[in-house]
C-alpha cells in the first residue's frame, strides 16, 4: 500500500468543493456547498435522508453532475472527468459485489480493467485478501458470504487499485448493531494504517462520532456544522446542530445584559456573548447530562455553587435505562427539560415532586438566531 501512504502530508487540502449546487427543477438538493477535505482525513457527511449528503457524495463519485460549482482534487477540476477515470474508490450501501464472480475475481476486477499483468494482479489481490482477512473465502461467490464478509470484499475491491479517495455510502447500514460496531472498529484501524482519505456518509450520529475525525452535518442541502464530533456536540454552532446531535434542552430567555438574562421571570447567569443586548430574545441549550436535578432536601443541603444556575420544575417522569437514568421535568412556565445521570449517581425523585434543575453557566450554549423548526428532532430533511 505504499502508493497510498506517500504524499500524505497532514492538513493539506486534497478535495475542495466550491459553491457546489445540484438542482432538480426548482428543488435544490445541494445548495451552494463549500468544503475542504484534508489529505488523509476521515470525514463523515451526517444528515437525515434528503439532506443532500448522498447527492454530494454522488457528485464526488461522478454519478451526478453538479448544476454549478467546482470539485477540485489536488487543484484539478473533476467536474468533466467521467466516474471511471476519477480514480476514486467507493463502497456502496448494498455492497454491490459482482454476483457472478468469485471473491478473488471481484477484488481483481479493477486491476483487470486496468490491464495489469496477471502476476501483479495476483500479488495485489493476495495482499488485499490478507488485509481484510478473507484468504480462505477467496473462491466463494458473494452470495455464499455473510453481510460483514461481503462488506469486507467491497472494501478490498475499492482499495486494491490504491485510489486517492475512498467514498463510503452508508456501508454498514444493512448490518446488525454488534457487527456494525466491529466493522466500525476495523474501519478505523484500516484508516489509521493506510492513511487514505475517507469520505463517509451516514445518518447514524453514533457511527459518525465513532469513526470520523471531522463531521459535516447536512441539512436542506447545506452544511450547517463542520468540526470534530467533540466540538459539534459540546459547542454546537447553531440550534439545529444542537438539537440534531444527541439530546438537548432549550430555554427561551430574555437577555438583560450580555452576561445575564431571565427565564420565565427567574434571573439566570449566561455566558458572556458579544453582541447580545438587553431585551433581546435568546436561546440557551444545556445537554441533559450536563444538568442536575436535585430534590428539595438535596438542594437545601447543597448550596448553589458559584457560576451555576438553578430553576424550579416539577417531575413528570423518571426512566431507568440501565447504565443511565433520565428525569423529565416541566417548569412552571411549561418548558420541558430532561436531566440525565448515571444510574450509580441515583435519582431519588418521584413524578410530581418539585425539583431544582441546576447547570453550570459554562456548559450552556447561547443562540441569538434560530428557526422554530431547528428545535425539533425531525428537522433536516426537505
Amino acid at each position: 500500500m505504499s502508493a497510498v501512504m506517500k504524499d500524505n502530508a497532514p492538513n493539506k487540502t486534497l478535495v475542495s468543493l466550491r459553491n457546489l449546487n445540484k438542482h432538480y427543477g426548482d428543488f435544490a438538493a445541494v445548495d451552494n456547498i463549500n468544503l475542504d477535505i484534508q489529505n488523509g482525513e476521515f470525514l463523515t457527511f451526517l444528515g437525515s435522508s434528503g439532506s443532500g449528503k448522498s447527492t454530494t457524495l454522488s457528485m464526488l463519485a461522478g454519478f451526478e453532475t453538479p448544476s454549478s460549482g467546482e470539485i477540485l482534487v489536488d487543484e484539478q477540476s473533476l467536474v468533466n472527468v467521467p466516474p471511471h477515470k476519477r480514480d476514486i474508490g467507493m463502497v456502496f450501501q448494498r455492497y454491490s459485489l459482482f454476483p457472478h464472480l468469485s471473491v478473488r475475481d471481484n477484488i481483481a476486477f479493477p486491476l483487470a480493467i486496468r490491464k495489469l499483468s496477471a502476476s501483479e494482479i495476483s500479488k495485489r489481490v493476495d495482499a488485499m485478501l490478507k488485509l481484510v482477512q478473507l484468504e480462505q473465502f477467496a473462491h466463494r461467490r458473494p452470495a455464499q458470504l455473510s453481510g460483514g464478509q461481503q462488506q469486507r470484499v467491497a472494501i478490498a475491491r475499492a482499495l486494491v487499485y490504491e485510489p486517492r479517495i475512498l467514498l463510503m455510502d452508508e456501508p454498514l447500514g444493512a448490518l446488525d448493531k454488534k457487527l456494525r460496531e466491529d466493522l466500525q472498529d476495523e474501519l478505523r484501524q484500516l484508516h489509521r494504517r493506510l492513511g487514505i482519505t475517507i469520505v463517509y456518509v451516514t445518518h447514524d450520529q453514533e457511527e459518525a462520532m465513532r469513526l470520523s475525525q471531522r463531521i459535516a452535518i447536512f441539512s436542506h442541502g447545506k452544511i450547517v456544522g463542520l468540526g470534530s464530533g467533540y466540538d459539534l456536540y459540546q459547542n454546537p454552532p447553531n440550534a439545529f446542530v444542537a438539537s440534531f446531535l444527541g439530546n438537548s434542552n432549550f430555554f427561551r430567555i430574555k437577555a438583560s445584559s450580555n452576561g445575564s438574562g431571565s427565564f420565565e421571570g427567574q434571573p439566570l447567569a449566561i455566558r458572556l456573548t458579544p453582541g447580545l443586548v438587553a431585551g433581546q430574545d435568546a436561546l440557551i441549550m444545556v445537554r441533559p447530562e450536563k444538568a442536575l436535578a436535585l430534590s428539595a432536601e438535596q438542594a437545601a443541603r447543597e448550596p448553589l455553587p458559584a457560576g451555576w444556575n438553578e430553576v424550579s420544575a416539577k417531575v413528570s417522569e423518571v426512566l431507568f435505562l440501565g447504565e443511565s437514568q433520565t428525569c423529565h421535568v416541566v417548569s412552571a412556565g411549561g418548558t420541558e427539560m430532561t436531566v440525565k445521570a448515571l444510574s450509580a449517581a441515583g435519582m431519588p425523585m418521584q413524578p410530581g415532586d418539585t425539583v431544582k434543575v441546576r447547570w453550570a453557566v459554562a456548559d450552556a450554549c447561547i443562540y441569538t438566531e434560530w428557526a422554530e423548526s431547528d428545535l425539533s428532532k425531525a428537522a433536516g430533511a426537505h
Binding site: 463519485a61 466516474p83 471511471h84 467507493m90 456502496f92 459485489l97 459482482f98 454476483p99 476486477f109 487499485y161
Partner: protein
Amino acid sequence: MLLTPNAMGRPLRFGLYATTGVIAAFLLLPILFIVLLSFGSSQWLVFPPPGWTLKWYGQFFSNPEWMDAALASLKVAVLTTVCAVALGLPTAFALVRGRFPGREMLYGLFTLPMIVPLVIIAVAVYALFLKLGYTGTLFAFVVSHVIVALPFTIISIINSLKLFDQSIEDAAVICGASRLQAIFKVTFPAIRPGMIAGGLFAFLVSWDEVVLSVMMASPNLQTLPVKMWTTLRQDLTPVIAVASTLLIGLSLLVMLIAAALRRRNPVSA
C-alpha cells in the same frame, strides 16, 4: 391461509384433488393421445391402436417434404430467437433505465402484439409483404414471428433488469470500467438467465406458430405446423401424429431447460 389443503375438511380436500386431476387430464390427454397414435399401427388413426410400429417415423424422416418443413421451422425459430434477444435487450434497457416522456406508452406499444388478435397481425403483415413481394421468404417468416415473440422476450429481460441492482453496475464504473464495459462485463452476466428465458420464449412462440406462418408460407418454404395443416386438409395420415409428437417433444425440452435455469438462478429468471 384459510384454505390450505390441511386446514380444509377431508371431503373438500378430496374434491379439490379430483377437480385438479380432471383438469390436468383434460389438458394432457390430447397430447398423450397424439403421442400414442404416432406409434400406432393403424393407418386411420384408430384408438386404441391395434398394434405398435415405428413405420410412421420412418416415413416422416424419409420424406424430404417433412424434413424440409422441420428444418425450416428450426431455422425460423433460431433466427427469431436471435433477433428477438438482439432487439429485446436494448429495448428492455431503454424501457427500464430511460427517463423520457412516453416511456409507459412505449412499453404498452411493445407488448401490444400479445393482446391484438393474431389473425389481425397476420393479415396486416401479409398485406405488407405481399406488396413488397416478400411472402414466402425466410425474411418474412422471421419478421412476422419476431413481432409476436418480442413482447415475451422484452418482458422477460425487463423483469431480470428490474431485479438487478444498478449500483452493481455503478460499482464496476467506479472501479474503472466505462459504462459500456460495465454493462458487458457485469450487467449482462447478471441478467443472463432473463436473457436466456426471453430467448427460449421467443423460440417456443416461433416453433409452434401457425396463423402467421400459413400466411407467409409458399410451396417452397413452409414450417412444420404449416405442413401439418396443409397435409391435414388433404388426408389423415399418422405422419401428422409423428410431426405433432416431435413438435411437442422439442417444446417440452425447451421448457425443461428454462425450468432448470430458473431453479439454478431463482432471483433473476
